[in-house]
Symmetry: none
Subunit: 121 residues, 2 copies
Amino acid sequence: MSKSATKVLQALERVGGFASAQELHLVLKRNQESIGLTTVYRTLQNLVNEKSVDILRKDDGEAIYRLCGDSHHHHLVCKNCGKTVEIEGGAIEKWAQKSGEENGFREIGHTAEIFGLCSEC
Amino acid sequence: MSKSATKVLQALERVGGFASAQELHLVLKRNQESIGLTTVYRTLQNLVNEKSVDILRKDDGEAIYRLCGDSHHHHLVCKNCGKTVEIEGGAIEKWAQKSGEENGFREIGHTAEIFGLCSEC
DNA sequence: ATGGAAATGACAATCATTTCCATTCTTGGT
DNA sequence: ACCAAGAATGGAAATGATTGTCATTTCCAT
């Protein structure tokens, strides 16, 4: 499980944020790395189990992954043109952590996204 | 779109919590209601759009739905058993509004969800 | 070198969700 | 009541992500 894991982790570093299994597979292919899609899925699953990688789901249900410890940020997206701004979410982190703890939850994570119309739209 | 909507809403009331489209379809079939799976999906989409129904995702990516009160709130969901707690999000509302405005956005909305492991899991 | 366990990858299978399209209801105007 | 236009419906096929299968390859300790 070692060679593939290395490749997948490198791909995750290269993209620098969230990426789906399919995207990672493409990235690896583009970089002349020979690796099967099946192996990408299996490797990601292993990495998630050993907590080296976070998994979450897009609205359409597709799974996206990122390295644990990556700096965590959120997105501000224009509903009309798709323009995206990265936002630091200090307030949200605290809110999520606190709300979770108050209800007896552990290993608390969260997703959040802001949308609206940007100045040009 | 009205007859189907009624049936789907009744099914949602009957199950009393979260249910997937497929489960709702089964429930309706068991109760002699004639309705197609396609229509269940379409109707759920409509109900989600008009904010009568909440949608979220299980760990495996399957969509689950439930009736939603009209007050704006967020969810704290157990990754393992699906237990859900409704959370008031005062901090988040302000954060979203502020972040959007600082970047020149208008008509600002947001999504947010907290997940973790509940006390029994 | 060798045997066995773990890893790999091409391909097929699965499963929720969507798309297509033909058929059936509604509805407004006459 | 009648009829055409459009909306709603549902079954079948398509889609797309993910998982299972299984033959082959790589690793590693002996």
